[in-house]
Amino acid sequence: MSIKIDHELCTGCASCVESCMYGAIELNNNIAKVLPNCTLCGACIEACPEEAISLERGDIKTKKIDISQYKGVWVIAEHYKNKIHNVAFQLLRKGRELADLLQVNLTLVILGANFDDKLEEFSQYGMDEILYVRAPILKDYYSDLYVKVISELVVQNNPEIILIGATPTGRDFAPRIAKRLNAGLTADCTGLEINPETKNLLQTRPTYGGNILATIQTPSSRPQMATVRPGIFKIPEKVQKDVKIRTIEYQFKEKDSVTKIVKVISKTKNTVNLEDAKYIVAGGRGVGSKENFKLLKDLANVLGAELGGSRITIELNWLDPDRQIGQTGKTVNPKLYIACGISGAIQHIVGMQNSDIIVAINKDPNAPIFHWAHYGIIGDLNEIIPILIQEFKKLKSEE
């Protein structure tokens, strides 16, 4: 296996050199040359305007499966304290769209103990079927039980697409199922489409610290699995629809789980809910100090907003870690996002670019945040925010 450069076709334009994330292509006598540190990721193939680059596979025969035997889109729910994580409902919106394009059924899969009286309500989120696996032990999350049950269900039902929330739980069991089924899995997706010709699922995800987006597909195996970030899609409107509910009683033997939950520790400290916030006021390095966040807090209070920050504000201890927004923090999609003193590094942008309206306040007119903002204010936040607070207060009293 290797990347082949067609020397006849190569014009030495260097598009491939720029596309390579690993610095593994260089120009040699005006012809592209692949270096030993190439990872065969294939980014250069797409980038070449002359179609001079190809990936040469060896003549290894891999077992081909009949992908037409797989039908249906599944969304797998997770829950905590008998409450389904919102991301499952968000995925039902996208799942409906995919299922309609493919003209197949959409199924919500729940592994739990006490959901019988809630299924009616869930059935309003647009699926065709609910698959409810019931067992007392499934009240809690056990990695190996999820893997066992879901793998078995998949083998019996052959869905073509499985969507799972990219939460610590989803990202725990999804890879293990993928391995057991030898299925392709794409982590942490932010976009899902169907290729109109091949009907393959195109899964787009930020990679390389959010600097680039990669679209991944699994052309020759099924199911196609993806974990998807919470907050990317909105929860669908409720609809009245006939939904088939299949309840499966599952009998576990004691040895089915090799792990034991000793206890759960909850920090009852005022919880931050950035993911569901309608308004967010966020600060970056430009805020200047922990004390200055008081100003942002005041602004947030007037708006009824949550307070968030870029990575540096967490590193400098200005904010608690659960308030971090971005690649290594939370992904948010509020109606209004006010970025104060945030320069706009891509790692931050990936966490907030789905906000309906982004307002940026920054001293530096060249700050990248202004490329992403709907409204930009170039100026000192210490000067702007107090006036903003006054104005918002005024508007509020007028209402």
């Binding site: 290797s2 392709g184 794409t186 991944i216 659960d322 891509i346 508007l395």
Partner: protein, 268 residues
């Protein structure tokens, strides 16, 4: 007891910038580094080694240049390092990677021929791919329990008790038998710097053990590109979708303008 730490050489992402004119990556000056989260895994392993008798073995799969991160692991204090390097491994997605790593771990265990227990510690994810899929897939391949997103671990002879952070405010304490695999979070410890003596030892008194597809007896259809189910269809740069209306005037004026816009947009 053997403690395996899986590591990866990655580009120093925090140094990466986008050229605003061409919308391409500026890679210049971006070094290859040991994945930062793997340092936490190494630190945890080295602390366990100091507290209890354990041999710490760091592994990585990559091109020969990846030897550098293994030397760094040696300099931090690990006992043995193994580099899985072969052109046939290239293009591996997480399925193929976990298969290959599992082969190496089985080979090392077989060759040590004692009935030792073992623990595998991984970072939760690498900064380049950011998938976090290799640890669970590796555990599945080896048929051992996994606990991901771990922030604290107690190790005894045949079991571990760990704190797993599964929500911002919730931690579950889980117990499982060894052998097992855990993946650890980034802020759980402060990884040590390799000392000068460590660096000296890493370069002068230690060897990097090389494994390739042949001495691992790898099934050629399960490694590298052949063993990968996913493929990269396209790579592109994020669109900038801002309206980019810069509001001008005195602070009072810009605030008035902003409120006007927000009311028009039905945000306020």
């Amino acid at each position: 007891m053997k403690i395996f730490v899986c590591t990866k050489q990655v580009p120093g992402i925090s140094e990466v910038k986008i050229d605003p004119k061409t919308n391409t990556l500026i890679r210049e000056g971006v070094e290859s580094i040991l994945n930062p989260n793997d340092r936490n895994a190494l630190e945890m392993a080295l602390v366990l080694k100091e507290e209890q008798k354990a041999e710490v073995i760091a592994l990585t799969m990559g091109p020969p240049q990846a030897e550098e991160i293994l030397r760094e692991a040696l300099a931090m204090g690990v006992d043995k390092v193994v580099l899985l390097s072969d052109r046939a491994f290239a293009g591996a997605d997480t399925l193929a990677t976990s298969y290959t790593l599992a082969l190496a771990i089985k080979k090392i265990l077989k060759e040590s021929d004692s009935e030792e227990n073992y623990l595998i510690i991984c970072g939760s994810q690498a900064v380049d791919g950011d998938t976090g899929q290799v640890p669970p897939e590796l555990a599945e391949e080896l048929g051992i329990p996994q606990i991901t997103y771990v922030q604290k671990l107690e190790l005894s002879e045949d079991k571990i008790v760990v704190e797993r952070k599964f929500r911002a405010t919730e931690i579950v304490v889980i117990e499982t038998k060894l052998p097992a695999l855990i993946s650890v979070l980034t802020d759980i410890n402060k990884p040590r710097f390799p000392t000068m003596m460590g660096i000296m030892k890493a370069y002068e008194n230690s060897n990097v053990i090389y494994f390739d597809s042949k001495n691992l007896n790898a099934d050629i259809s399960k490694i590298g590109l052949n063993g990968s189910m996913t493929e990269v269809k396209k790579i592109f740069f994020p669109e900038r979708n801002g309206k980019r209306i810069i509001l001008e005037g005195s602070p009072e004026e810009v605030v008035k303008k902003l409120c006007h816009h927000l009311q028009e947009d039905k945000i306020l």
